[in-house]
């Protein structure tokens, strides 16, 4: 039972991270399209932000892993 709940929790965390990273990617693409000359800065900030969101999701997944 806890295993199923943990799997559900991990799935929910992944949904959240997916929405977040999707937003970042979409907005970054828009920004690059508007200002192609700033592509380098935007790209490294995009990776940084995606990594931060990923961190939150990973904590949830690791917790699910250990509770399981």
């Amino acid at each position: 039972m806890t295993g199923t709940l943990a799997a559900l929790g991990a799935g929910l965390a992944v949904i959240g991270a997916g929405i977040g990273i999707g937003n970042i990617g979409g907005k970054a693409m828009e920004a690059i399209a508007r200002q192609p000359e700033a592509a380098g800065d935007i790209r490294s900030n995009m990776i940084l932000m995606a990594a931060l969101i990923e961190g939150a999701a990973l904590i949830a997944i690791i917790l699910a892993f250990f509770i399981n």
């Binding site: 490294s44 940084l48 990973l58």
Partner: protein, 464 residues
């Protein structure tokens, strides 16, 4: 400057190697503690040629009934001599999850293929004293298991374990087979490994970990200071990076004033990229002070990620996907942040200016928690990304066996299914390998840029 980089490298990697050698906490491997008396004295049921020859399976059964929670092992088939071991229960079918799990773990020997292992030195410390030997002295009974017990130490699935019982003989004795079962203690399933010797099942201890049982494990009857697979890979990575950077650094004196060439022109753009895109934006005029650390973690992580991607012998070690290694790296960032933090940084953590007092009471604990959560996420991000990559790759390769429907990893299954599985596995594995190549660089870069952001926030000059 170049000398500083090389010195930092040397110190960082030697420290890392020593630290991991001391504590490769088996995050994904819970240890059984000495107070669960589960499979003690299980007499086995007569497959083995023992002196007693009694069939005690009834006894065994009642014991199982008493515990009621013994589960079949996850595809760990331990029958060293081609028959079933009676310590623990067995499920012979191929289990991709177990194979992947086994792959990402550290080991005391380096498996090349099949039953061919590269021996690694083992340094073991217990109450009976210190013991140094090669992992090959355990012999080879197949599947990474050892044939002999040496001073109570045995080799199970490539990992050294120790017989917990006092009555087990010292010296070199031949053991029969190994068992594995899951016991339930405090609502958690814990693996329990056993070895069969002279018709008795002896409970095994896994190595002590220093994490205090948070990640499973705890203090058992022995410590393992061995050069394990991960430590070996780390030393290899250290050597490769050292030679690369030595060559590049030399070129700056021998080829002074000339255009970069060879390794120099491979590394220079990367070093400049880290300096211009990471160090300078976050540190400004203090960039030179922290650049050596950033370059060290970047090349260390990227180098070991790439070595881990090589699917055969010197590669394949899951070093950056091991929590202890990423924890040490994250602790470095945490320590550098903390000791370099200026007044401005501490003020903003403990008692931030310009904020009402009642908000400060809420914010201060959050900020203090944040201090520790930052390195924690650094640690988990790298660990989870690399481990997930390794697991997915192994699962994709396992498609061949899953579709083949082989009864176990060492037996043949159905040919048509295997061909279908191979047809799926090859493109999927190649695709995943390409993604992982990207991830290897991205995770190195992310660790580096986040470290820079955390340290940068601590050394930033006040501007308000």
């Amino acid at each position: 400057m170049r000398k500083a980089i090389i010195c930092t490298f040397g110190i960082l990697f030697l420290t890392l190697a020593l630290l991991t050698a001391q504590d490769h906490s088996h995050h994904n491997h819970d240890h059984n503690h000495s107070h669960d008396h589960s499979s003690h004295g299980h007499d086995h049921s007569g497959h083995n040629h023992d002196h007693h020859g009694h069939d005690h399976s009834g006894h065994n059964h009642s014991h199982d009934g008493h515990h009621g929670h013994n589960h079949a092992s996850h595809g760990h088939d331990d029958h060293g001599h081609g028959h079933h071991c009676d310590c623990g229960k067995h499920d012979d079918s191929f289990d991709a999850g177990a194979v992947a799990f086994h792959h990402i773990m550290d080991a005391n020997q380096f498996r090349v293929f099949g039953d061919i292992n590269v021996p690694l030195p083992c340094f073991l410390k217990s109450d009976d004293g210190f013991k140094a030997m090669l992992s090959s002295s355990f012999g080879n009974a197949g599947h990474g298991n050892g044939k002999y017990a040496i001073d109570k130490y045995v080799m199970v699935h490539g990992t050294v374990m120790r017989v917990a019982d006092e009555g087990f003989p010292m010296g070199k004795v031949e053991v029969n087979c190994y068992g594995h079962e899951e016991i339930v203690k405090d609502g958690k399933e814990l693996p329990l490994f056993t070895v069969s010797y002279q018709g008795k099942c002896w409970k095994l201890h896994e190595k002590s970990t220093l994490d205090g049982g948070i990640l499973g494990g705890g203090i058992t009857s022995f410590y393992d200071f061995s050069i394990t697979k991960n430590v070996f890979t780390m030393l290899l990575g250290f050597l490769i990076l050292f030679l690369l950077f030595r060559t590049a650094a030399k070129a700056y004196t021998t080829r002074k004033g000339m255009a970069p060439k060879g390794i120099q022109s491979l590394l220079e753009p990367v070093v400049l990229f880290i300096r211009d895109e990471v160090a300078v934006p976050f540190f400004g005029h203090k960039a030179d002070k922290f650049l050596p650390y950033l370059l060290s973690v970047f090349f260390f992580i990227v180098g070991l990620n790439l070595i881990g991607q090589i699917p055969f012998f010197p590669g394949s070690g899951n070093v950056t996907g091991s929590l202890s290694v990423t924890a040490v790296l994250a602790i470095f960032t945490f320590v550098i942040t903390t000791i370099n933090g200026n007044k401005h940084y501490w003020e903003h953590i403990v008692w931030m200016p310009g904020v009402p007092a009642w908000v400060k009471i809420i914010l201060t604990p959050v900020e203090i928690m944040g201090m520790f959560i930052k390195p924690l996420t650094l640690m988990l991000r790298l660990f989870a990304n690399i481990t997930a990559g390794h697991i997915v790759l192994v699962i994709f390769v396992s498609l061949i066996f899953i579709f083949g429907g082989a009864p176990s990893m060492y037996e043949s299954g159905n040919m048509g299914g295997s061909i279908l599985g191979t047809a799926m596995a090859i493109p999927l594995t190649m695709f995943m390998m390409a993604i992982e190549l990207l991830v290897a660089f991205i995770q190195g870069f992310v660790f580096c840029i986040l470290s820079a952001a955390y340290i940068g926030a601590a050394v930033e000059d006040a501007h308000h």
